[in-house]
């Protein structure tokens, strides 16, 4: 049994969620290889080779792989599939884009967003926005899997010394082209791996009011998130969205401000260790999952909270 894990990387840096995907793979057992696909990926390959437990890093360096276009990446992964029992990726927008394309090329059914591993063929995954957990087993020759990063403790980024091996076979399928990105830049921690997340909802009333949450985030070293309602209303960009179809977070502390708590939002945050809800409606469903609920007008409570934190 051996496992190939697709390495997530951005701007020449290995994404931390790769460490969670490796953690999931390590529970399956067998030799673990990482695939670094991109252009000029030397730094990422070095970082990948240092991850504890990795036996080999395959590096596909080609212009056609620079932006992770699924039309180019999936056939490359298919060409590497021969020696693997499992092919895995974190359930990021990159993993979600390419892995089903790979699965169909291999004529296997993918298992999406796993949160628990029973054995090499049996996996648990959330369905219905996490309101039910489905355990499925697969007899496919190759298990193509995406992993929910927050469900697996990250492995150590250091301690490994894997061999780095170039792989050929990349080519441009000529179907798609990358044009540009509009990425949110922030000095704050990344939403899905931040130890504390403070999120705002429709109750924030205006994008400018998120500055109140940002001040608290800066005091706590927290990331700022949002509900779908806040993103739809244009208060904050799409990459803030926490929920069933946005990002899934599980920080030590999640503070929900002016968020009613639709099941689609709860799906993205209810595995947080401690949940705080601040909402003026004491019937809001968010209070059903909150460890500490404060029924208050957020425009009074949030400035008071900032002051109290000193």
């Amino acid at each position: 049994m051996s496992i190939l894990i697709l390495c997530d990387h951005e701007n020449g840096q290995l994404s931390p969620v790769t460490l969670n995907a490796v953690s999931a793979a390590s529970q399956i057992g067998g030799e673990m290889h990482l695939l670094v696909a991109g252009d000029q990926t030397g730094n990422v390959a070095k970082a990948a080779a240092s991850i504890a437990g990795i036996a080999k890093v395959l590096v596909a360096d080609d212009k056609s792989l620079e932006n992770g276009l699924a039309e180019n990446l999936a056939p490359l992964m298919q060409s590497l599939s021969g020696s693997y029992s499992h092919m895995m990726a974190a359930a990021t927008t990159t993993g979600k884009n390419v892995m089903p394309r790979l699965a169909a090329l291999l004529d296997v059914m993918q298992i999406s967003d796993i949160i628990k591993i029973d054995d090499a063929n049996t996996f648990q995954r959330p369905i219905y926005a996490g309101n039910a957990l489905s355990t499925v087993s697969s007899n496919e020759a190759i298990k193509v899997i995406t992993v929910r990063g927050t469900a697996f403790e990250a492995v150590a980024a250091e301690g490994g010394n894997a061999a780095i091996e170039p792989v050929a076979g990349a080519s441009d399928a000529g179907l798609s082209a990358y044009v540009k990105s509009e990425l949110s830049s922030s000095e704050r921690p990344e939403l899905t791996s931040a130890p504390i997340v403070i999120s705002g909802g429709r109750g924030m009333q205006d994008g400018a009011n998120f500055a109140m949450l940002e001040k608290i985030a800066d005091k706590l070293g927290a990331a700022v998130g949002a509900s779908r309602a806040a993103v739809d209303a244009g208060f904050v960009p799409n990459d803030y969205q926490v929920g069933q179809t946005g990002k899934v977070v599980a920080p030590d502390l999640y503070v929900a401000v002016g968020i009613s708590g639709a099941i689609q939002h709860l799906a993205g945050m209810k595995d947080s260790k401690v949940i705080v809800a601040i909402n003026k409606d004491d019937e809001a469903p968010i209070f059903q999952v909150a460890d500490y609920g404060l029924v208050a007008d957020l425009f009074d409570a949030v400035p008071a909270l900032e002051k109290e934190l000193g």
Partner: protein
């Protein structure tokens, strides 16, 4: 150009699902069903392409039991021109769905397939990408904007870091995200008109596709409920609890 829009019948997004006592799945009997909300956005986008003169015909296809014809009628009431129903079990897997859709594409030759990025029941997020692979077409996934010009489409994708702009060759698969548009409601006259629109029925056998499941469902369980929390009186008490009791700040 024809636009093909696959629409899935799922438990309505407002319904709190219940797991069956025998752990074989979730309760579907006597539960309100509706079109997958992402597929509604796909239907809306297809209609806008037709209204803009980019497309001539919008075809809604649904795969599942006889009741899926209601979901097709919903798409027809929104404005789709005709429907195709493929008889299959309710819980058919995305790979089999993609193979059936490939066969429909071969019959209909659409210029684009618009589909929801994921279904809110199984949360798989696979079908569009799989169909693109089987057809050898480009895929524009998680689209929040779509612009078609000749044999290319410009797609803005919602990705983890923000937005990504790509250009893809047509024909293509575009999987739609929440912010692409706001779907219209079907008016009563359009609901009446939809009853007369053509709706063909096929089986997987007619299309020569093997739809046998590849995965076995071992069990479906309720997640562990969170222990009940407490209400705090004010911000001072909240901060004190977070520092001294939960010890998270």
């Amino acid at each position: 150009m024809k636009v093909l829009v696959p629409v899935k019948r799922v438990i309505d997004y407002n319904v709190k699902v219940r797991v069956k006592a025998d752990q074989s799945g979730v309760e579907l009997a006597n539960v309100k069903m509706a079109m997958n909300p992402f597929d509604e956005i796909a239907v809306e986008q297809a209609l806008r392409l037709r209204e803009a003169g980019t497309a001539e015909e919008v075809i809604a296809v649904s795969i599942g039991p006889a009741q899926n014809q209601e979901t097709i009628r919903t798409a027809l009431a929104m404005g789709a021109d005709r429907g195709i129903h493929i008889e299959a079990p309710h819980d058919i897997e995305p790979l089999a769905v993609a193979k059936l859709l490939k066969a429909v594409v071969a019959q209909e030759n659409p210029g684009i397939v618009l589909v929801g990025k994921q279904a809110i029941d199984d949360d798989c997020n696979q079908t569009g990408q799989m169909l693109a692979a089987l057809l050898g077409w480009a895929q524009g996934t998680f689209a929040s904007a779509l612009e078609i010009a000749g044999d290319k489409a410009k797609v803005i994708r919602e990705v983890d870091g923000g937005l990504e702009h790509i250009e893809i060759n047509m024909p293509a698969i575009v999987t739609v995200d929440l912010r692409l548009n706001e779907p219209r409601y079907a008016s009563l006259p359009n609901i009446m008109k939809a009853k007369k629109k053509p709706l063909d029925s096929l089986t997987a056998g007619d299309l020569g596709v093997d739809i046998a499941p590849r995965l076995t469902i071992v069990k479906v369980e309720e997640p562990t409920a969170r222990a009940a929390g407490i209400k705090v009186g004010d911000v001072q008490e909240l901060v004190s609890k977070l520092k001294n009791e939960a010890k998270v700040i």
